[in-house]
């Protein structure tokens, strides 16, 4: 007989899970630090015994002892065997339902740690396939701190099994997970991924978890699960103890059930006594119906933006269209430039960042995925994944950490068939363009009709209407003047007739007119007045920010005009002083004092009198040499050297711009590769070296950190690099440095190596086979100068 589906079983019941496994195994003699999962094979009777106690206590679901039964923890032992034995133990105990337990990997995901998203997915895939093959009835993904890791696990479960998927995360006393995810973000994100239940477990006792649970109940459309610890762990006599007893625990859990929690059980410190009492207390309690708040929300991994009642600014600058610098950066694979743009937009107040990388010659899916991964590493602002290519959209959606906005679908049958399934699968807000096979309709009414069709079609795919953002399309006022009012009328129509959220890209309107910013700002104000919810624009423009800030006051969003007043006050404070100082300081003094704020202005002024090359050779380099000398002699220390270098960097940017505009270039002084070696993920020192080398006019190919040996070899070969700098921080990764140099030498490439890093010493430099040891960043400049002057 097939057992009933757990989802059907719990339709009119509170579902009861079991309690702790680790606590019970340690009572039975498990050594602290040993892998409990190995007992499934080594001592199955012990594991089954624990399960039996929970079955006897009345648990509906028994959680198999497979928390970390994955290849990163088990090493050589077979994942399949340990999982099968674990599911077998739970089954043998007479469980009504057996949950495959899937815990975190025990390694941080990139960018915080070394495990890539796809690697995490593979590890989880192996575990869930093994669980399904062994006959588990559902998959419980639990104790997750990182929503990105949870996403990898949920995708693995949904793509490789047909089992129901429950996912719970673990929150600390500050209401966030270890990586900073809050309960609202967790709820929106997990719901988007289509889990069957979501919730919280571990960390705290049920009383302290109540506010987290309350947030989840407010927004969750799926059943909410709570498996708390037996109180907050405290240390007594050098041991961890849990001090909430079964009675108090059950009292608190029942309160949560009365608020609408549908699935309960226990985590660390709970025992069959807790579960038995809980069984008695929930007997006869019917599930409490909750009405979740339906909001239009997107998230990053740690932050949620709710569009309801909040005018939203979407930054448009991560897009190569019409931007030469961005195009060059994308072609060169220089993500650093894009990251700078991303951070600048976020700091300027963008609520969401659009990411578009379409250039005809690029592999768009691969590049979009890479840029999404990198950008989400430097900002917590949610992203809008922008492409006309469904394959690129899926690549971006897959590696995105959060619930993004997808830009876009339109009323064409082929577009809807390609995009709606992706949005349903990964969970996203979706920009819907009001055009179809016939093009853009000239009337507002026809655009509202397309919006209605898009909404109805979305429903068929199971994409809720609150996840749609209707774009009524902005045309160029210089070409189609009458159309601007149609767009505004369509925005009003979509709001009034369909009640959907709206979005517009405002910058198009001004094409072909002088002072475009003025036109855009005027249009933005009109569109906001028509009820626009989200505007795609350049957040670095003070003019647009002003319109938005004022509108948010007038629209009663910026309460008490607090934000408006604060930003105006900050603006009037520092502006005049700086320009006065700039007049009295020479460029050399500005560099010596590390005045980043003054450098660009001073260089612009110098460019009126002096050639760019002379500024570099006669002003930058002598000033830097002097700063370097003072650093070497101990007159100044590292942060001061760096501030001077950053001032030069600001000046360099002005010179580069000038050269691009005037077309007068300059021979590079030489090309240098930099990399932090494989296994090492700390690279601030390498970044300092990069800045100094660039200051001295070298082209730096920066491969970043944790760089595979192969990548170093291939890049040196492909780009004909003759001088390379490697950094390592740990004694354990010095070996990796040695292997990297050996591999380059073995490939017969004539490359000179300089090495540095916290643990490096002249002895180590010899050991790894390097040519030069750089004790600090200045020394790497001296080595480069010597190398390239000897060569020329």
């Amino acid at each position: 007989m097939t057992p009933p589906d757990v989802r059907a079983w719990m339709r009119d019941r509170i579902l009861l899970f079991d309690g702790a496994m680790g606590t019970m195994l340690q009572q039975r003699g498990l050594t602290p630090g040993a892998l409990p999962e190995l007992l499934n094979i080594e001592a199955p009777e012990v594991v089954t015994g624990v399960h039996e106690a929970y079955v006897e206590a009345g648990a509906d679901v028994i959680t198999a002892n497979t928390f970390q039964a994955h290849e990163l923890k088990l090493g050589a032992a077979s994942v399949e065997a340990v999982v099968a034995a674990g599911v077998g133990c739970a089954r043998a105990a007479g469980a009504r339902f057996v949950a495959l337990d899937v815990g975190p990997l025990g390694q941080l995901l990139a960018p915080m740690g070394p495990v890539g998203f796809e690697r995490a997915y593979e590890v989880f895939r192996r575990q869930v396939r093994a669980g399904a093959a062994a006959g588990a009835d559902l998959i419980l993904i639990e104790t997750m701190s990182d929503p990105y890791e949870a996403k990898a696990a949920v995708l693995a479960a949904r793509e490789n099994t047909d089992l129901p998927v429950f996912c719970s995360m673990t929150f600390q006393e500050d209401g966030r997970t270890f990586v900073g995810c809050d309960p609202l973000t967790a709820t929106v994100l997990l719901q988007g991924l289509g889990v069957d239940a979501l919730g919280v477990n571990c960390s705290l006792g049920p009383a302290l978890l109540a506010p987290v649970v309350e947030t989840m109940l407010t927004y969750a459309r799926e059943p909410v699960l709570v498996q708390a610890n037996a109180g907050l762990p405290v240390i007594r006599d050098g041991q961890t103890v849990y001090e909430t007893g079964p009675e108090a625990y059950a009292d608190e859990v029942v309160k949560l059930v009365r608020r609408g929690v549908r699935i309960v059980g226990g985590c660390c410190g709970t025992t069959p006594a807790y579960i038995r009492l809980l069984r008695a207390r929930i007997e006869g309690l019917a599930p409490v119906a909750v009405t979740p708040r339906r909001v239009t929300a997107c998230t990053s991994g740690t932050r949620t933006v709710i569009l309801n009642g909040a005018t939203t600014a979407i930054g448009e600058r991560l897009n190569p269209t019409g931007k030469k610098k961005m195009q060059a950066a994308l072609r060169a694979g220089d993500v650093g430039y894009l990251l700078g743009e991303a951070v600048a937009q976020a700091q300027a107040g963008a609520d969401v960042l659009d990411v578009n990388v379409s250039l005809p010659e690029l592999d768009e899916p691969a590049v979009l995925a890479k840029v999404v991964r990198e950008v989400q590493g430097v900002t917590d602002v949610p992203l809008q994944i922008d492409s006309a290519d469904p394959a690129a959209l899926e690549a971006g959606l897959r590696v995105y950490n959060g619930k993004p906005i997808v830009n876009s679908v339109n009323g064409k049958r082929t577009a809807m068939e390609a995009v709606f399934p992706l949005v349903k699968k990964y969970g996203a807000l979706l920009v819907c363009l009001t055009l179809d096979e016939e093009g853009i309709p000239p009337t507002a009414a026809a655009r509202v009709d397309i919006a209605r069709r898009l909404r109805d079609e979305a429903r068929r795919y199971g994409v809720p209407e609150e996840d749609l953002l209707i774009d009524c399309l902005v045309l160029t006022v210089s070409a189609q003047q009458a159309q601007v009012q149609e767009t505004l009328a369509a925005v009003r129509g979509v709001k009034a007739e369909l009640g959907l959220h709206t979005v517009l890209g405002v910058s198009n309107v001004s094409f072909g007119l002088p002072e475009r910013e003025a036109v855009n700002a005027g249009f933005l104000a009109a569109a906001l007045g028509a009820g626009l919810d989200a505007a795609i624009l350049n957040p670095l423009s003070a003019r647009y920010r002003e319109v938005l800030d004022v509108f948010r006051v007038l629209n009663n969003e910026d309460k008490g005009a607090a934000h408006y007043i604060e930003t105006r006050a900050a603006r009037t404070k520092d502006a005049p002083a700086a320009s006065a100082e700039a007049r009295v300081l020479s460029l050399a003094e500005i560099i010596a004092q590390g005045r980043r704020d003054l450098a660009a202005g001073a260089v612009r002024a110098r460019l009126e009198a002096v050639s760019p090359l002379d500024i570099i050779d006669r002003e930058f380099i002598p000033a830097l040499d002097e700063v370097g000398r003072r650093f070497e002699s101990g007159e100044i220390f590292l942060p001061q050297l760096m501030q001077s270098a950053q001032a030069v960097q600001e000046g360099f940017a002005v010179i580069k711009d000038h050269m691009t505009r005037t077309g007068c270039g300059r021979e590079s002084r030489g090309k240098i590769l930099l990399a932090t070696v494989q296994g090492d993920i700390h690279d601030i020192g390498k970044n300092i070296v990069r800045m100094l080398l660039e200051n001295y006019g070298y082209d730096v190919v920066d491969l970043g950190k944790d760089v595979p040996i192969r990548t170093v070899v291939d890049t040196i070969r492909a780009q004909g690099i003759r001088l390379a700098g490697l950094s390592a921080l740990m004694t354990t990764t010095v070996k990796s440095m040695k292997d990297t140099i050996a591999a380059v030498r073995a490939a017969g490439l004539p490359c000179t190596f300089m090495v540095g890093g916290a643990v490096l010493s002249p002895d180590y430099a010899d050991f790894v086979g390097a040519d030069h040891y750089a004790k600090d960043a200045m020394e790497s400049v001296a080595i480069a100068n010597e190398y390239f002057s000897a060569k020329s």
Binding site: T31, G33, L108, P114, V378, G634, F637, I684, M730, T731
Partner: protein
């Protein structure tokens, strides 16, 4: 100047240089920002010290503490505490974000984090002493002297540090989040020497301060 700031400046490589006003203000603001962002957490357990044939061990665990340095450090100690502490990933993320727009600020934040994790460990060490009602003989970490870094995974497992404080270790034996410490604390032996008493210190010969010709604070 307050001691905390002096420490941060020391991590930034300051010996005796004057600190310009702008840099001083930068350090102040970074200290505040790091304190606001970091989520310090620690976990510890104490064990009897067991002298096995192949080295010392926390009793009841499979963790071996090989080498002469830890033996010297635990001389006369009846108990040993395993301590793990971290500032959380928020500190790392904050530093990483500034690396793209202001490298100096990133470096100063990094130094602030280094100072802060030491402070967290100092507090934890006092809590260990209070709980055990014994004096600490000082902290000694895997990677110091001849105590191998390969201890890290087992060390974290004994404390269940991944689940309890979100602390992990890579295959290269790097602790993540970056600003984290694991340390052994001997209890009931010779008390921790006063600052600068290098000849009787457990970290003798492997101390970063001593390498720079300085003494610890």
């Amino acid at each position: 100047m307050d001691r905390t700031k002096t420490e941060v400046l020391r991590y930034l490589g300051r010996r005796r240089q004057a600190v310009p006003a702008e840099l001083d203000a930068l350090v102040e603001s970074c200290m505040a920002l790091m304190r606001e962002t970091a989520a310090p957490r620690h976990v510890w357990r104490t064990f009897d010290v067991e002298d096995r044939a192949d080295g010392l061990a926390p009793a009841g665990t499979e963790l071996m503490l090989p080498g002469q340095d830890i033996r010297r450090c635990l001389t006369g100690c009846r108990r040993v505490a395993l301590l793990a502490a971290t500032l959380g990933v928020g500190a790392d993320t904050l530093i990483r974000r500034w690396e793209h727009t202001d490298l100096t600020r990133a470096l100063v934040l990094d130094a602030c984090a280094t100072q802060l994790i030491e402070e967290v460990c100092d507090e934890a060490e006092r809590a260990v002493e209070a709980d055990a009602d014994m004096k600490s003989a000082g902290r000694f970490s895997p990677g110091y002297g001849d105590l191998p870094l390969t201890l890290q995974p087992g060390f974290l497992a004994v404390l269940d540090a991944g689940r309890r404080i979100g602390l992990t270790c890579t295959e290269s034996l790097i602790l993540l989040p970056r600003k984290s410490v694991t340390a052994l604390i001997g209890l009931g032996g010779r008390a921790r020497p006063a600052a600068g008493r290098c000849e009787s210190c457990a970290a003798r010969g492997v101390c970063d301060f001593a390498k720079r010709g300085e003494v610890c604070p």
